[in-house]
Symmetry: C2
């Protein structure tokens, strides 16, 4: 609202008409709000908005599925274009809402739903006008990136870093939606809808958070020339799509590895375009507002030109299965904590060899003299099938050499 007012002149030039805010639907009318917001515009009754024939565009920034979904549906059904920043709603019901909007010839715009102020939706759609996206990967959860950055750069434990994120307002009191990877999975589903035309349920995306990452993993990663990032990854296969969310070792001398703190980044690989990286503030009021306002201007312009729904019509989605993690090929970082006895290395190497996994590098930490204390052994594999790697890890876990559960982190090359 501040942004629309401050740039009113630009709005008129760009849309051909001013944009007026007619109502603001809120839960609590007593709450303190920005001074630009006149109190008489506030309402707690959705019927006031939906019943006002002069409302052209419905902006939904309340979050959550209910009641946002029913409001958005009713706005579409009454031929309003909708702008939303609600990634959970889109991840759960994006394809049906898009179809609904297309059927009613209105627009559904959602730049603010992924990557805050990073215009990734726009770039994806522009690129897709003449290109196809083969692969994408991104840091799409600022909380995870903040926590991993603080652990790596400043030696904090996971709990300390999460507490700091909470104190700074980067993480919720219950941080699980972020640190367990679900928020990133929602965003990946939205990206996959656009990039690959894939209709996927969030719970079908293999999702792993960052709770299992320990300070020692950051140290070992560094030793091998990597940093650990929490990535959402998508790739277009023939009939299926490969989608997954998990911590990843990224080479230290890449741009992605140097996107730190709460910043987000999304890297796209287009057939014609090659690699493209977009980075910026992934969350926060102002960056999201910039995206929402850009969407509002777009749909308002389309409405004024009588071409509402044209942009939304370019989104075409069909059911596509998510390929199994077992069938993924890649390199792996494996960390074992084992009892320091003769023959332990041979046991690890043997189990991996039996599964057809070959080892590229191996490092052992601790163990010199202090017998009885478990030691860490970390190894990087050559390219291997993930199912085979998991089979070997299970065999090792069950054996008497394992002092705790082993940890697998995928490597992005």
């Amino acid at each position: 609202m501040q942004l629309l007012r401050a740039n009113a002149e630009y709005v008129v030039r760009s849309v051909g008409a001013p944009i007026e805010i007619s109502h603001v639907l809120v839960r609590d009318p007593a709450k303190e709000r920005v001074p630009e917001l006149e109190r008489e515009r506030l309402t707690t009754d959705p019927e006031v908005l939906l019943g006002d024939a002069s409302v052209d565009v419905f902006v939904e920034v309340m979050g959550g599925v209910s009641p946002a979904k029913s409001y958005v549906e009713r706005a579409i059904d009454s031929k309003r274009s909708v702008v939303t920043a609600n990634k959970m709603l889109l991840a759960m019901h994006g394809p049906e809402l898009v179809e609904r909007a297309i059927a009613r010839r209105v627009d559904l715009a959602f730049e603010g739903s992924v990557g805050g102020g990073i215009p990734v939706i726009r770039v994806l759609r522009e690129a897709l006008a003449s290109d196809s996206v083969m692969r994408l990967s991104g840091i799409v959860n600022g909380t995870c990136n903040f926590v991993l950055t603080r652990m790596r750069a400043d030696g904090l434990s996971f709990d300390e870093a999460v507490r700091e994120a909470q104190a700074k307002g980067y993480a919720e009191a219950d941080p699980s939606l972020d640190v367990d990877g679900h928020d990133a999975a929602h965003k990946l589903v939205v990206l996959a809808m656009l990039a690959f035309g894939a209709r996927v349920e969030p719970h079908d995306v293999p999702t792993e958070g960052i709770r299992g990452i320990e300070p020692i993993d950051h140290r070992f990663a560094e030793r091998f020339g990597f940093v650990i990032k929490h990535l959402a990854f998508g790739s277009d296969r023939d009939t299926s799509v490969e989608l997954r969310v998990h911590p990843t070792l990224v080479r230290r001398d890449t741009a992605l590895a140097n996107v730190n703190g709460v910043l987000n980044a999304i890297s796209l690989e287009g057939r014609a375009l090659g690699p493209t990286l977009l980075s910026g503030r992934g969350a926060g009021d102002m960056p999201t507002a910039v995206s929402v306002v850009a969407d509002v201007l777009d749909v308002a312009r389309a409405r004024r030109s009588g071409v509402s729904g044209l942009a939304t019509r370019t989104i075409q989605v069909r059911h596509r299965p998510v390929s199994s993690l077992d069938e993924v090929f890649g390199r792996y970082y494996l960390r074992f904590q084992v009892h320091d006895r003769p023959g332990v290395l041979a046991r690890l190497a043997g189990a991996l060899g039996d599964a057809g996994v070959s080892i590229e590098q191996m490092v052992q930490e601790g163990g010199a003299g202090s017998s009885g204390v478990p030691v860490y052994i970390v190894l990087l594999t050559h390219e291997a099938r993930e199912g085979d790697v998991r089979r070997a890890m299970e065999a090792i876990s069950r054996s008497e050499v394992a002092a705790s559960a082993p940890k697998l982190i995928r490597i992005q090359d």
Copy 2:
């Protein structure tokens, strides 16, 4: 053309009508071309295009100012929208062409002119709908970035790296437009037109290329935790704009520092948006084609909806002076080659102190025992006024301790 054909279905959905290529103006009709191009569409006569009333959009990808400028002007005057990827034409005549297009109510779109496939023009314009850009900096010349990357990572000399760039087709036979910074200055002028509404002549932009960078500078930069990048930099001052193109020390642990080879990157700092980085292939047929096709679809869609010129009307430009380099404040890397005599360090420090420049770090290389051979002294300053730094350097150059001209490289913090 390949891209338009391959994505014909998307084009129809997105524009509401198919796009047909009616003529292709070429210099040499005998030259071998892509198989998609029917020979009967080729012409060497601009009148064939300009005289055909069925032509809606004029796409200019010939490059250079003449005759491109007169073709673009005539296309605009005859009410065609124009898509161009011609950065030189835009740097020299962008504001007048924009005004011309606005007056005739047609669009002038130029995403392909800066950053190849990186959608920086689009992002700037979207962001500006509700935000203002305070600062931008970017690696906008792939040749410079390739040469600097090869020098740093593989120890090549400047000449060797340029020859390799030429062999790979990244540099022209005469590489001066690239390595002397003029191409980057052209792109900066185009960016400044959009980001700051500034009308600036390319020759008013302080421009320095990468010829003066020696392998030893890469070594010293590394020692201090930096890499050397050739950057275009712009900043919005009250009445003036600060624009400059030069090699720059960038902290190694930033995303920008890790954009290597021929890749380009542009970083924007918006008041609401915060920092945003876009990176990708800055040149090449396919990335540029992706940008040109996205523009063609935009202007075709606007034309079909009867709102041609609306997007172009948002560009507003006025003359703004470029602030003097002397008035820039920053930190500096200074490299001196001096005769190894007693008191030489005191002389350097004294000259800097006299000019009010204070030293943060100083490193000397060579000189131990091998008397008579000049030694290198490199120092980093604290923040200082550039005019003061230059004054000190001139005093040192003139003194009898200097064995060769000193080198100044700006530091980006």
